[in-house]
């Protein structure tokens, strides 16, 4: 699971062009969309949907579901683990 989380952080940085950051800058429980977290926006949320589909084969049809799933690296990893197979 922790390997998945590290991989996720690298993928997030690359998919969202967060060039200023390294995986160490993203805490597992950091709220990704909060202003005092990573400050991501609605377009980034859509890129997450693309990331999940192309890297993990998981589809999210309704973007509003996304907020919960993408809340933090923890919740993302949980979602992937639960739905992967």
């Amino acid at each position: 699971m922790s390997e998945l989380k590290e991989t996720l952080k690298t993928q997030i940085i690359s998919q969202l062009s967060l060039e200023d950051l390294t995986p160490a800058d993203i805490a597992d429980d950091m709220p990704l969309f909060a202003e005092d977290g990573l400050g991501l926006d609605s377009i980034d949320a859509l890129e997450f949907i693309v990331l999940l589909e192309s890297n993990y084969g998981l589809k999210i049809a309704d973007p509003s579901q996304g907020r919960e799933i993408f809340h933090s690296v923890n919740s993302l990893a949980d979602f992937i683990e639960k739905n992967r197979n």
């Binding site: 950051l21 377009i43 980034d44 859509l46 693309v50 192309s54």
Partner: protein, 192 residues
């Protein structure tokens, strides 16, 4: 800046290098396309001169233009859905050249009028005309820019940006003189 070279970067990552040199601290920068990046950096150079604190930015109009809209990003977006098979929303956002004026407005909280024109080359006449129209409307400042990113025949990217802030008042030179001035400044830049 005003005809003087401030700093020069020669490699492909010149935009990132410039951003770091200016110590901008604006993470949204990285997600932008080259047009928006050039605009933001150019405006930052202007801002560093202190000019924006001397004017009422509620009275600022943005006038921008280029020759090929968002061609480079358009092609990258096509790649994302044909090659990668996943259309990228963050690329699509930048397939409109006027997003760069949007980015400037968002960063600096400028609510004034903004427009984006397409012309084959830097057209001083177009800018001078628009600036005079703005003045007639009662606007006092125009931030203008030619921000161009063009795919050349040999597949290299040719990028340039030329920004100028104009304060409008009765004493401004005639339209004709302004056009000449603008062309001279633009051509000077080209020679560097």
């Amino acid at each position: 800046m005003n005809g003087e070279k401030i700093v020069q970067f020669t490699d492909e990552n010149w935009l990132k290098a410039c951003y770091q040199h200016l110590a901008l601290d604006y993470p949204k920068f990285y997600k932008m396309d080259n047009l928006s990046k050039m605009a933001v950096l150019g405006v930052e150079l202007l801002a560093n001169s202190g000019i924006f604190s001397q004017i009422d930015t509620n009275d600022l109009e943005l006038l921008f233009a280029n020759s090929n809209a968002s061609q480079h990003t358009d092609l990258k977006f096509i790649d994302s859905y044909t090659v990668a098979k996943n259309p990228s929303p963050s690329l699509f956002v930048y397939t409109l050249p006027n997003i760069l004026t949007g980015e400037l407005a968002i960063k600096h909280k400028w609510y004034g009028e903004n427009s984006f024109y397409i012309s084959p080359n830097f057209d001083a006449q177009l800018f001078a005309t628009k600036i005079h129209q703005a003045y007639k409307k009662g606007v006092n400042y125009c931030l203008c820019g030619w921000i161009d990113s063009k795919l050349e025949a040999n597949s290299t990217l040719s990028e340039e940006s030329f920004l100028f802030l104009v304060a409008l008042n009765e004493e401004n030179a005639s339209l004709h003189q302004e056009i000449e001035q603008l062309m001279t400044q633009y051509n000077q830049k080209e020679k560097e």
